[in-house]
Symmetry: C2
Subunit: 311 residues, 2 copies
């Protein structure tokens, strides 16, 4: 796949904004948008942890950006651009690299972002990738996962659990005739552009599983929460797998939907801010601690694991 | 080494500045310094590429920050803080992590920077680390590697070639009784805080080897350069290895000294800006292309390789 410098010139320099100075200099230079605060986040995609060797490189690139964009969405931020690290193994081909960069290029257009800079290295282990995303918000308007109040309703965007089923489909453990579940696993839809400041009291993106991420919001606010399992929105494709998939739907990660704490008085404003996007109320924050999941009969459900975490 | 969340809370949260929001939220929020441009860079440290499994974790952490700080120095930027990614293998111990974070803490104090955020993951391959450094410069004052003019003198800070010998010492291939060479290899001194804007016409930090990085400056400016090998500053510890080490001194990377293009009229200003720091004039930019290295007799020297690059 060529040497380091020709690889950068051929594949990455065409993706760079002017901040990246042609990817020639030691660093990028960014003029911050006047009167805005910057929002900074970084996430990795590691071979055999976050993606499989056979996954399409276009999708790996897109998921790398989208996982980070979802973090910006959870902060209420507008995305500007990103820095990229690649540590590639000797077996990586020109085709792989062309696919990877075409995925980046595609999503740069979709989300209006540019490549600012990065670092390209060889790996003696597996492929590792990271992206640092830079966005901005109005002063003081960044959302936090910590602001929920007792009595706030718990709302969630989109549908939950598709990605967990999609991962099983990628391993051949279940059938996904339409490809929808696999697409939800590899190509999440970060919920950018919702003007949620002043409407929600807290927000988080679901990356570790609904129950666990709701637990993070509870812990941050010093509260508990009740979640009604039957209200958790499910796509028709996921619903087809029936109740046995319920635990995985509630506790596996990678949905990249937003989980929101909303004062009941702001319900209409929330609907207006979300427009056509499906949003569903699934529970309530209350005094106490931890997440209580109730089934349709009102009984407390037990799960083997709370959610995803790295050792 | 505990689970992901307790690891973050125990080892990394204490390093976070207020921008990091306790490492609880999905992203960091930074109020940009008023009237300044931001400078952004990212570099990786990969096991068996940039460090060895037996290296002290304190030094790995410090080198990770210092390689990035050196990029900021080459842009003339002041450092603010950083985002960190860690992908750790199952064998990483609490001791390793305590050492690693104590190295970060030490250098945060030395260089006046704070942890803004990051991402912690498990690796199925080798350890991989990266840091995204954020700094700032006055508007338009960022240095570039591309601005050299014919007739500019080539100056270099510090001494060259210690790190290459230090790497050999780490492999047991040579003796380093004082530990100086190993220290130069693992603990570079980024040349922060030199007010070079308006004095130098171009700058780069030496990370790929003197000859190759000088070649980058030539290519960027559409010029050639003549380098006098005998003038390249050498530490007494490196000089003890004599001429056989010359090629490695000129072409191996990791010195993290600054290479500067300086109009002759600015020589006194350069000296004043650098204060007590050793700086040496080692050659000149001129019409043409590529780097010509002359020995003490004025004959052109040939090297087997130009410098370091990743496959």
């Amino acid at each position: 796949m060529g040497d380091e410098f020709s690889r950068i010139a051929k594949y990455f320099a065409p993706l760079a904004g002017e901040e990246g100075r042609g990817l020639i200099d030691d660093a990028a230079v960014l003029v911050p948008p006047p009167g805005r605060e910057l929002v900074l986040t970084v996430d990795q995609m590691l071979e055999d942890v976050h993606f499989l060797p056979g996954d399409a490189p276009e999708l790996i690139a897109q998921k790398l950006l989208r996982r980070n964009l979802s973090d910006l969405a959870a902060m209420g931020a507008t995305a500007l651009g990103y820095l990229l690290t690649t540590a590639l193994t000797e077996g990586v081909t020109e085709d792989w690299l062309a696919g990877f960069t075409s995925g980046l290029e595609h999503d740069q257009k979709v989300f209006g972002i540019k490549l600012f800079g990065g670092d390209s290295s060889s790996s003696r282990g597996k492929i590792s990738l990271s992206a640092t995303l830079i966005g901005h918000v109005a002063p003081g308007a960044a959302l936090s996962r910590n602001g929920a109040n007792a009595g706030d309703e718990i709302w969630v965007t989109g549908t939950i659990g598709d990605a967990a089923l999609g991962l099983q489909a990628r391993f051949g453990k279940l059938q996904d005739p339409t490809g929808w579940l696999v697409a939800r696993s590899m190509l999440p839809q970060p919920r950018m552009g919702l003007a949620l400041a002043g409407i929600v009291s807290a927000a988080i993106d679901i990356s570790d599983g609904l129950v666990q991420d709701l637990g993070h919001m509870c812990k941050g606010a010093g509260l508990g929460a009740t979640l009604h399992a039957g209200r958790v929105p499910t796509s028709p494709q996921a619903a087809a797998f029936g109740p046995p998939a319920l635990e995985s739907r509630l506790t596996d990660g990678d949905d990249y939907e937003l989980l929101l704490a909303v004062p009941p008085a702001n319900r209409a404003a929330l609907q207006a801010a979300c427009g056509d996007l499906q949003i569903t109320q699934i529970g309530i924050f209350e005094a106490g601690e931890g997440v209580r999941v109730l089934d349709d009969a009102g009984a407390v459900m037990k799960f083997e694991r709370g959610g995803w975490q790295h050792f």
